[in-house]
């Protein structure tokens, strides 16, 4: 018996929230909240939800990190079909992140090799990533070994249209 949980987490930005999924390897018969903690009952066992826990316990005592993936669809960044020049990017968040950019929207697998940058790249120079494409898909991968959060991503682009 397992329990599949869809969890909607609200953010501080108004009504915006995000869904996540968890698979618990037990039945959740009932639940209660005591203090700030959520307790789940499964038969004769009481589980306490630990917001600080990282990773997936694939076997008793064996916790494996699982990566977090943030990916945007192919975005035009201006007029569709016009090639844009990307100079670099900045990312803000928590936890080291690998950045990869898709450059051909016909080929879902054509991405640049992942490039690991610190959690917050705003101080100092722009992270250089020169490439040109009519549309881009950004993919951020957090390896799951540390708590992570994505806040912002900035791409520095130049539209290559004439007279732009």
């Amino acid at each position: 018996m397992t329990t599949h949980a869809f969890i909607y987490s609200m953010t501080r930005i108004g009504q915006v929230g995000a869904w996540s999924r968890y698979e618990f390897p037990f039945d959740v018969d009932d639940w209660t909240i005591a203090g700030d903690a959520l307790y789940l009952r499964s038969g004769d066992h009481i589980h306490r939800v630990d917001p600080e826990a990282l990773g997936d316990e694939v076997a008793p005592g064996e916790v494996q990190p699982f990566p977090g993936l943030v990916q945007w669809p192919w975005l035009d960044f201006g007029q569709p079909g016009v090639t844009k020049m990307l100079y670099g990017f900045d990312v803000v968040g928590e936890g080291a992140v690998s950045v990869s950019l898709g450059i051909d929207q016909r080929s879902a697998g054509l991405f640049t090799p992942p490039y690991t940058v610190p959690a917050d790249t705003v101080p100092g120079n722009v992270i250089p990533m020169p490439l040109a494409a009519p549309s881009l898909s950004v993919r951020l991968t957090y390896d799951g070994t540390q708590a992570w959060q994505w806040n912002a991503l900035g791409l520095y682009l130049q539209d290559l249209r004439g007279m732009s």
Partner: protein, 687 residues
Amino acid sequence: MAYPVWQPGTLYQPGDIVVPITAPSPTATAVENGDFSAGASNWDFTGAAFYSTHVSKGGWRTAVELPGNQPSGGALNQTKLVVPVGKKITATCLIDQGASIAGATRGWVEVHWFSGTDVLLRVDKGNQVDSGAGGAVHPSTCESTCPEGAAYCRAGIELWSVADHNHAVWGGNLQVDGTFAGLPSDLAYKAVQPESGFSDASEPAWPPVLGQQVVDNEVTWEAIASTRVVWAAEPLYVSGDTEPEWPEEEGGMVKDGTVTLRAVSRRVEDPNCPNTKIVAIAASKVFCGDDDIVRYSATVNPLDWSTDNDAGYLPTGLQNYGANPVTAMGLYRGNLIVFNAEAFQLWQVDEEPASMALLDALPMGSTHHHAIAPVSNDLLFLASQGVRTLGIAASSTNFQAGDVGMPVDPLVQGRMENSVEPAALYYPAMGQYWLMFPHAGAPPAVPPQISGQAPDGEYDFPYDGYAYTLTAGTAPIVRVSVVDGSLPPGLTLDRGTGTLEAGGVPTAPGSYQFVLRVEDANGLYADLADEIHIGAGAIACGVSSAYSGGQSFPTEFEVVLGTGTGTVTLDYLTGQNPDRFVVTFDGVDVIDTGYVGDPDYIEGGQTYQQKLDAYMLAHGLPQEDINMFNPAYVEGDTNLDTNPGTMHASFVKSSPTSMATVKIYGPLPGTGWSARLGCPNADEGNP
């Protein structure tokens, strides 16, 4: 209750009660100078009586004298005797009539009771002595009980005479006996000054007598007896020693010790209670879905579903979108939301049934009662297409549909198809709405387990073998393998059973660390770290060892005797240079030859005994005598069977322990020896 202890410089209000740090000295338990041995001190004389030095017959000092022609007088002892209320004292004195005519003069003992403010409350008198025939003194005795309100008493002697009688009468030897408190029980001090005031820096002289006062800077304390009421609790109802036979019918009675118990139902028995699982609690009532209505209980009485104008029902079926039966209910901002498969109705609920009203209805339905949860300003519920919300526009009851669930609609729909009833919750600390779908499926696979610790082995001797304990998890075990380190060379592992096979002969001594992994058909595994030590020095029984030159302190080797029993013989050979042979078996030194050699043999200007003594001294070891070796010893012949100087010692092996240890101590340079521990000889050991 315990009263606080007096504190210096503390503000005390009138009525405050304290107990002293230093208790006052206990009051007297006997009258002082009652026999006038100290003259007139501690006495107050009254009337015409005065102190005299009169001594009566028998040597009694009857020092209170009432002269003739005086009507009355007496003396009252100044000692204050503190007696608990209701307790008795007995006072006695002696009266000497002297030459008086019987009845013309009289004398008696008195007890005067005073309040705490020295107000005389009562006088008790003893028997009157009015005859002194023969010049004898006669006692007067008074038994007196402390009256209510009395703080202390004083005892005294009273004398009386008719007016025209001219002979004196005397009294003396006052004594008291009885219950004296020393200090009143539960003595405490109460602040009696009219206004709050501070106590002094040092403790006042606390009065020992109830009712007396002492001034303590701005506080006036009065001695009181703190009254206490002691309550003892005792059970009225006590269950019996054994569990009663419980009645199984509702209303059945059973006696259990002094308790009579009646069986009651844990269900709501009111016939109007629907007893469905669609329940909400609001406005001090329980609401319960019942097909096309929602019944509710009486206010603050969930057992009552019938009282008019208190319990009742909401006619949801008669309202907008009411055609379908009630399937779910929730609460939103104090209002009751009643869902059916088609729509929801929003009801204002109140403790007063007349105040309940339908507020709104919208065609958004839900059939999942347990998936409803209020989240922040919204109410999240599970509709047929996924998670939906109700949100309130500012300041009105105009509800609008939300769509936070749309990103996961396909996933949720997939779960809804093959799942039992989902449950939902709001987790405020994390700001999360949880929607949980339990579903039947294979439980997580359990990995296999391995445990055990292999025994050590001996170089060049067959290993005993060892089977690790394997426990299969969900799937059967497929293999056991060494994933790190290595087994001792010469040992083999059965990969199917996890057994180190017996009979393998270790080919190199040393410690071997390795990690075994057991894997099952699911690919799950467990690891076990183990270590096997291969000893270096074991030899077979019946095999001789020899040494020549240098020192041997000690040479130690293990001998494999096997599990058989019988006599084990040590053959050993040594010359003038002393050697000592010790055999240890089962932790006990079973053979110890002591040092064997020639103690008087001189080598390098010293005897071997002198050399051995010096060696032992230098190494902090006890001195040992050298026993004479076998003089038939042939120099240079190390063959224990042919050298006529071979000596023998033996022990009887009676346990199956296989290993024995042979230690040979040869502390002096140039030593040489041969030794051989034989195999157990059963015939000799068990004739």
